[in-house]
Amino acid sequence: MTADDAALLEELREMWMAHDSPPADLVATMIAAVAAAGLDDEWEVLVLMRDSADGPAAPVRGLGTSRILYFTAAEGWSLDAELDEGQVRGQLVDFDGDLGSVEVVVETTDGQRWVTPLDEVGFFALRAEPTGSLRFTVRHGDHAASSRWVEL
C-alpha cells in the first residue's frame, strides 16, 4: 500500500471511530454476555491430576531427568505425558473414539507449538524441548480439551 493510501485509510478509520462509535454500554454488555455464557467453566477441561515435580523424585526412572504429567478429561479419558531429553511422549488412555482423528498439541507460552497424531493404540512422541510453561491440548473432531499452563 502506498503511503498516501495508508494515510487516507487511517483518516477514514479515525472518522468512523469518531462519528459512528459503538453505543456507550456495548463493551459492558458484551463482557456480561461472555461471563454469562460460562466461558471459564468450559475452558479447563483437561485437568492436571499428577505432576512428578510435585512429589518425591521419580525413583523408578533411574536418573530421574524426566517430568511426568497426568491429566484427566471430564469425558473420562486421560493423558499421560513424559518430557525427557528433547522428547515429549505419552499416551491417551480410555479414549472412546477414533484415535486416528485425535491430535495432541503441545504449546508453550513463548510461542512454540508442536502437533502430532496418535498411533493406533494411542501413543504419541514428539521431538521437542519446550521451555517456560507448557500446555497440552487434545483435539478430536470439533472438540478440544486444553490444560492450564504448567511451569517447567
Binding site: 487516507l8 485509510l9 478509520r13 471511530m17 458484551m30 455464557a37 460460562g38 499452563w149
Partner: protein, 203 residues
C-alpha cells in the same frame, strides 16, 4: 500495513506506547489462557469496538450490529479452543464478525423482500449514521466522499481499515472478489474517495 503502524506507534504524552487493539487482544488472550481470568474482560474491551465497525461495514443498523457483535462473542465462547495461534485471536474474531454480518444481511434480505431501488429511495444512504452524525468540516467532507462511492467499496474500505493484517483469502470469499483483486480494488476505492474529496473541495 499502514493502519497498523499508525496505531501501534501512536504514543501517549507521557511516552508510554499505546498498544493497538489487536496487540491488546492477543496479549489478553494469552494471559487468559495462562489462567488470568480477568484478562478476558480486557480482550472483550479491546475488540468490541473493532467488531462494531466491521459489522457496521455491512450496512446493518445499530441494533442489528449489536446483535451480530454479541453473536460473535458467543461464538467465541463456544469455539475459542479451536484458535490455534493466540496471536491470531483478533483476526479470528474479525473473520467471525464479518461472516456473521454477511449472514445476517442475507437473512434480513429474505425476511424483507423489498426491491433494492425502493430501499435506496427510502434511506438517506446505506450508512445511515452518516446522515445522523454531527460532523466537523473535514469529517463531513470525508463522510460525503465515502458515501459517494459504491457500497462494495465502502464495505471493503471499512473492513480493511479495522483489520490488522487483512486475510485476503477469507476476504475474497466474503466479498466475492478474487484474492488477487483485493489489493488493487482497495487502491481503486481509495482513489475514488480521493477523487470525490477533490471534487468536493472544488465546489
Amino acid at each position: 500495513m499502514g493502519t497498523m503502524v499508525a496505531m501501534s506507534e501512536d504514543r501517549r504524552a507521557e511516552g508510554q506506547p499505546v498498544l493497538s487493539p489487536w496487540d491488546m487482544a492477543s496479549g489478553a488472550f494469552i494471559a487468559w489462557r495462562s489462567g488470568d481470568a480477568g484478562a478476558m474482560d480486557e480482550l472483550v474491551t479491546a475488540m468490541t469496538p473493532v467488531l462494531w465497525h466491521v459489522v457496521r461495514a455491512y450496512g446493518h443498523d445499530r441494533q442489528s450490529a449489536e446483535d451480530v457483535v454479541q453473536a460473535t462473542w458467543l461464538g467465541f465462547v463456544r469455539l475459542h479452543e479451536t484458535i490455534k495461534d493466540p496471536q491470531a485471536v483478533a483476526s479470528w474474531l474479525i473473520t467471525s464478525a464479518r461472516r456473521g454480518a454477511a449472514a445476517h444481511a442475507r437473512t434480513a434480505r429474505r425476511a424483507a423482500p423489498v426491491q433494492d431501488e425502493t430501499l435506496h429511495a427510502a434511506l438517506p444512504h446505506a450508512e445511515s449514521a452518516e446522515a445522523l452524525a454531527v460532523l466537523d468540516d473535514e469529517a463531513s467532507r470525508l463522510w460525503g466522499a465515502v458515501a459517494s462511492v459504491d457500497e462494495r467499496c465502502r464495505r471493503l474500505l471499512r473492513v480493511v481499515a479495522f483489520m490488522d493484517r487483512p486475510d485476503y483469502q477469507s476476504l475474497s470469499q466474503d466479498l466475492d472478489m478474487p484474492v488477487g483483486s483485493i489489493g488493487p480494488t482497495r487502491a481503486r476505492c481509495l482513489a475514488k474517495v480521493r477523487t470525490a474529496l477533490t471534487k468536493g473541495r472544488e465546489r
